[in-house]
Subunit: 183 residues, 2 copies
DNA sequence: ATATTATATTCAACAAGTTGAATATAACTT
DNA sequence: AAGTTATATTCAACTTGTTGAATATAATAT
């Protein structure tokens, strides 16, 4: 029920289509919120019914028509209301398919487990690179669109993801060493 | 669809009721998997229908009857099959209500934001303590039940949670400083 | 004495998220 | 010239997760 607030937040920057929102998600909220296209389109439909957003069809020269959404006054109020009320419990519900398997690692071979932890490490290293790239492109994008004030907060959140990812890579290194000494 | 494998994994240690499983979850898988009681009971029901677990009613002296579940051969096979097949993509779908609000922080007062980041820091410090306690009690529990081999892997996973939590606390400290200098 | 917490489970209703198919065109690559 | 990728959206079916009510007793705290 709060994908909608992510969408409203992004529509505060500028009007966008479902597709644009998906793309924007991918280069920003991706690391704190995940959403599939189908979910975004459905949610936008609901939000329009509830008067939080308005859509208008925009004709494009050569491409298809776009359905461009804009935030309404009601939408702005709803967003602000949500924003100011942080949840009491800031723990996140985790569902980590990888680490659960490590937890039950006694039923796996050391070889297999080392292989998977190495794969995990590689993926997090890629994430680290992606985050660095995002930080740079976000800076440029913000400068172009006059969103420097927004960029300040984007940076705070990317810093968090960077630190967490670094910690995970550290853990992976130590764990690989540990497992290799044991096996 | 993989809460079931967490349950099967725990039933490998010993037979348990839905309630026991919930409790065991809370002192172990909690930091990698979250599940409400109602979900556990429902999943156990399904699993019994599918022949992955068996239940028998156990009479207790003064308390209620307990429905104690045990893993079947089919259950063991299903668990092993799941365990050996790690997902290709090891990223986790995140849904972080806190950090999304920081992302949109320009619509909040610095005062409010600082308050919330401090609250976040405090909660993570509590988590850190809880993790340390869990590590100790798990060690004792493992020793008592002859699960020392299992404990080795539990420790690996708790280490990961510890490192991540420490990184989050670090981030919170830096961010509080940064926000206080700006405001 | 009374209230609360812990034990122990079930179930219905609802909300949210995932998968996959369907449709249609422009732009780019081989 | 043919194939792939990107653009752009909709929808149905399904799985998963959340909330809250209902039931019933022992143990502990006030």
């Amino acid at each position: 029920m709060s994908l909608r607030y992510g969408l409203l937040g992004l529509l505060n920057y500028y009007d966008m289509s479902g597709y644009d929102l998906k793309k924007t998600f991918e280069s920003s909220l991706q690391y704190m919120w995940s959403a599939k296209s189908s979910q975004i389109y459905r949610e936008l439909g609901k939000m329009e019914k509830e008067g939080l957003v308005l859509s208008k069809i925009e004709q494009q020269e050569k491409k298809f028509d776009k359905k461009v959404y804009s935030i309404t006054k009601l939408g702005i109020t709803a967003f602000q209301e949500w924003l100011e009320h942080f949840p009491k419990n800031l723990e996140l519900p985790i569902r980590d398919e990888f680490i659960v398997r490590v937890f039950f690692g006694e039923h796996l071979s050391f070889e297999n487990l080392i292989f998977e932890v190495k794969r995990f490490k590689k993926q997090r290293e890629d994430t680290l690179e992606a985050l660095t790239t995002i930080l740079i492109t976000a800076k440029h994008a913000a400068a172009e669109d006059g969103l420097d004030k927004s960029y300040y907060f984007w940076k705070l959140t990317i810093n968090k993801a960077l630190k967490e990812t670094q910690a995970e890579i550290e853990w992976a290194k130590e764990t690989i060493d540990e497992l290799m000494n044991r096996s």
